[in-house]
Amino acid sequence: MGKKLVTVKVNGRTVEKAVEPRQLLVHFLREECSLTGAHIGCETSHCGACTVDIDGKSVKSCTHLAVQCEGSEVLTVEGLAQGGVLHAVQEGFYKEHGLQCGFCTPGMLMRAYRFLQENPNPTEDEVRAGMSGNLCRCTGYQNIVKAVLYAAAKLQATAKEAA
């Protein structure tokens, strides 16, 4: 049951820590890295409040061991804004009132961030299916769909400007 040394890049910063193999990634992020944006809403891998981006994929960090992240790049909600400027998904959730209590929001944002790279111009149905691994108790999802579509439009406009 010895600890294992893990080197992982979290939000661009290299973190090196000795971890117990049984430590879940969500606990590693929250307790070892003090990144408490990712939340825990269940113990059956349904709610997605713990969603982070690992090596370019959305993953529920409650169902992934920290020790498995050796050499990985992890992005959490704390790493979304650049230079104090909100990412389009953060702006979309704010503008479209896509959050109330805010407990699901970090996971929703991390999923939306990756989903819009997988599908930059989604339909409403595709947004609902693409976000189906994330539960919300407050919003009824309607405004979250609007928020994701807002972010999609903003990201496309930004991409067009850059081209």
Binding site: M1, R22, E43, V59, T63, H64, L65, G133
Partner: protein
């Protein structure tokens, strides 16, 4: 939520993993971890060692070997969905994989893990029966091939021996104009089936020339409805023939009662799913 302590191993080759599996007491293979870790977090399973297969590149990927599509056991569900090769040669698989779990789970959960778990609620076992898949199992004595039909022995029990690793899934490429369908009744997106039916179908001169019908979560293990298939073979696919096949399929079921429903409901839904899957598959044979 808190799993018990264990030692962690991350072999880089199948041979190394087989060596560890043979030498470590009470070890479990860690694939996507989306069935094993949930069970450990609830302390249903308390292995002393986890052997992580995620760093063995040879276990991933989808390739063609002649008329066979070969899928590495550690290929994740979303990679099945995105595979142009599967979309062209085994379209049932990417389509059905969209009905498994949710996007995050599909980034970790693997086809091999879904099969090896042996949960009657999982979708791949019935899909493998419908697709006439064969599994490559590797152990200390070498490789062996085991057909999906006969692999699933009971709830969480398969033909996989304790010292073996499921390394690849081999599926015959579907002939042109093969119809397919996976009709899954579920309470919500991401849930396991209340009842589901996988169908692969070919027609020749208006008559059924090939048919496979397999059922999910309607017995202690995934089930091939051989009598329903036999009743259809060589027959035109009339409404009466579809209804009769569904009745035969239902007769083979032995569902467990739980929050998804009692036996009566699940048996009725089994019949409905078989009928829907047959009709959808037939429409795609043209």
């Amino acid at each position: 939520m808190i799993p018990p302590g264990f030692d962690y191993h991350a072999p880089r080759s199948v041979a190394e993993a087989i060596g560890l599996l043979g030498s470590l007491p009470d070890a479990k293979l860690l694939a996507g971890g989306h069935s094993l870790l949930p069970m450990m977090k609830l302390r249903f399973a308390q292995p002393a060692h986890l052997i992580d297969l995620n760093r063995i590149d040879a276990l991933r990927g989808i390739r063609e070997e002649g008329a066979t599509v070969v899928i590495g056991a550690m290929t994740v569900e979303n990679d099945l969905i995105a595979s142009p090769l599967l979309q062209a040669k085994v379209p049932l698989l990417p389509e059905a994989a969209k009905q498994i779990a949710d996007p995050q789970v599909r980034n970790r959960g693997t086809i091999g893990g879904d099969i090896a778990h042996g949960d009657p609620g999982n979708d791949h076992p019935a899909l493998m029966l419908a697709l006439d898949a064969t599994f490559t199992l590797e152990g200390p004595k070498g490789k062996r091939q085991v057909a999906a039909d006969g692999f699933f022995h009971g709830t969480y029990m398969t033909a996989l021996a304790e010292d073996e690793i499921l390394t690849e899934i081999r599926i015959p490429a579907c002939a042109p104009r093969t119809g397919h369908a996976y009709a899954k009744l579920k309470r919500k997106t991401g849930d396991w089936a209340t009842a589901a039916a996988a169908v692969v179908l070919r027609m020749d001169g208006g008559k059924v020339s090939h048919v496979r019908i397999a059922l999910t979560n309607l017995a202690p293990a995934a089930l091939r409805a051989a009598e329903a298939e036999a009743a259809l073979l060589g027959q035109p696919l009339s409404d009466a023939a579809i209804a009769a096949a569904a009745t035969k399929a239902v007769a083979a079921c032995d569902p467990a009662e739980d929050l998804r429903g009692d036996r009566e409901y699940k048996l009725a839904m089994a019949g409905q799913m078989v009928q829907r899957a047959l009709r959808q598959a037939a429409a795609r044979c043209q």
